[in-house]
Symmetry: C2
Subunit: 267 residues, 2 copies
């Protein structure tokens, strides 16, 4: 039997491809991975379109219980794992593919749009982006400098930087873990403002003048949704812009071509 | 009325999203842009699914006659421009969006997978790719060094490089142009082998030991098609690998994580 890993796109049930929908309809069990991104609709909308029950797959299920729940099931049944956006945004699915191969299970990926290419809607050319970075919530004052270093490197070469903003879903807090309590916290999605605050804090520590209040940045909220919001402006301006509901992302432009300038001016 | 620019994915008529199909079915005129990528099926397969006529849009139509054919038509009718892969792979569509806005025409992009994110199937993490580069056919011995320089920069920072390989569709040759003859040449699609030959020639000129016969590279043919072929090996090995029909792409890996190593070993 087959383990289908299917990208379902960025907004709602209609963003799946015909190929994806055909595969889902042929499957015996359907899981939706929901800890690395979120859809603009709830699971019921998917279930209605598919005519099938969709189970929520936690990070634990995909990363730790994959063998039992997904892979061994896929020996007897056709299983679909739905991914918001595209299949290969995270290592996990490459790992899943490797483990499927080891166990002699057919693995089929069905592609879709993800933030990695849909970010092109902002108007900056995709081939001029350098390495992508992630900005994470500061944890006990531990603040990784990677995003700052990546932006600095990309800027040096005139390249744009896509900054993915942290998502914490069903994670326990450190105090609870120390006490042996397993109590998931409410989900947290980093806002453009919080992302910029992290970058400004790194700027204060590192002082290379990579991100100042005057730096041009582009904030994106709800990429691919009907109420998508894209705002280009200085860091100071974006810090006081309300981007509303998650997910948010941030782009730090590099050297701009005139069409790119025009595109940002016309957002 | 609306100008819909719709990504139709990488392989066949079933790679369109439900949202994309709904839009196409509502349109009065449908154009397929076919000079930056190719599908695995012909236009007839699309027409059969859509129940509509699909016109081939040349580069001239999209870049030079866009105003007349696409934008002014979209003042009176709903127009769909179908793009193999995704909408925002090339500047042109950002340009089209800007011109639509100037003319007060509604513009709607419908996302899909493109080589820029589907390349994740190779098993190298997307966020560890640096700038993307294009390798073009040498023209009258003029050989741009950009791909070599981009790979060198990415390698220096441990980043992977996606190399898009040249496509020439319906272009005239220089001799004919000089004589004032407008005779389109048959399409040419650069192979993995030809791409590697260009890189080796740049290596001989520049001599930084970025691409040698021993460098590990990954060749990809027909990404997202049922007969997709991904081969990882040294340049010497890939030079004698027959990748078959177009399109081909090339990845030069940077520093490998152990999962990435395992993924390449299991191709």
């Amino acid at each position: 039997m087959t383990l289908y890993v299917i990208g379902i796109g960025l907004y709602d049930e209609k963003d799946i491809t015909l190929r994806g929908l055909e595969a889902v309809k042929s499957c015996d069990e359907i899981y939706l991975e929901h800890y690395t991104s979120i859809l603009g609709v709830n699971v019921k909308a998917l279930e209605k379109l598919y005519g099938k029950t969709v189970q929520i797959a936690s990070r634990d299920l995909v990363e730790r219980e994959a063998e039992e729940k997904l892979l061994l099931s896929a020996k007897k049944k056709d299983i679909a794992l739905l991914i918001v956006g595209d299949v290969f945004g995270a290592t996990t699915h490459t790992d899943l593919q490797l483990r499927a191969k080891e166990l002699g299970i057919e693995f089929q990926a069905i592609f879709n749009a993800s933030v990695m290419n849909a970010i092109g809607v902002v108007g900056l050319e995709l081939y001029k982006y350098g390495k992508t970075t992630s900005i994470v919530f500061p944890d006990n004052n531990w603040l990784p400098s990677a995003p700052y270093d990546v932006i600095a490197l990309n800027q040096e070469h005139g390249l744009h930087t896509l900054c993915l903003l942290d998502i914490k879903v069903a994670e326990s807090n450190l105090e609870d873990i120390k006490k042996g309590i397993n109590k998931p916290q409410p989900p947290r999605y980093m806002t453009v403002e919080e992302g910029l605050e992290v970058l400004l804090r790194l700027e204060r520590e590192k002082g290379k003048k990579i991100i100042t209040k005057e730096t041009l940045v582009v904030g994106v909220a709800r990429l691919g949704h009907p109420d998508m919001l894209i705002v280009s402006g200085t860091v100071a301006e974006l810090l006081i812009t309300d981007f509303g509901e998650p997910l948010h992302s941030l782009v730090v432009p590099g050297k701009l071509h005139h069409i790119e300038e025009e595109a940002l001016a016309n957002l």
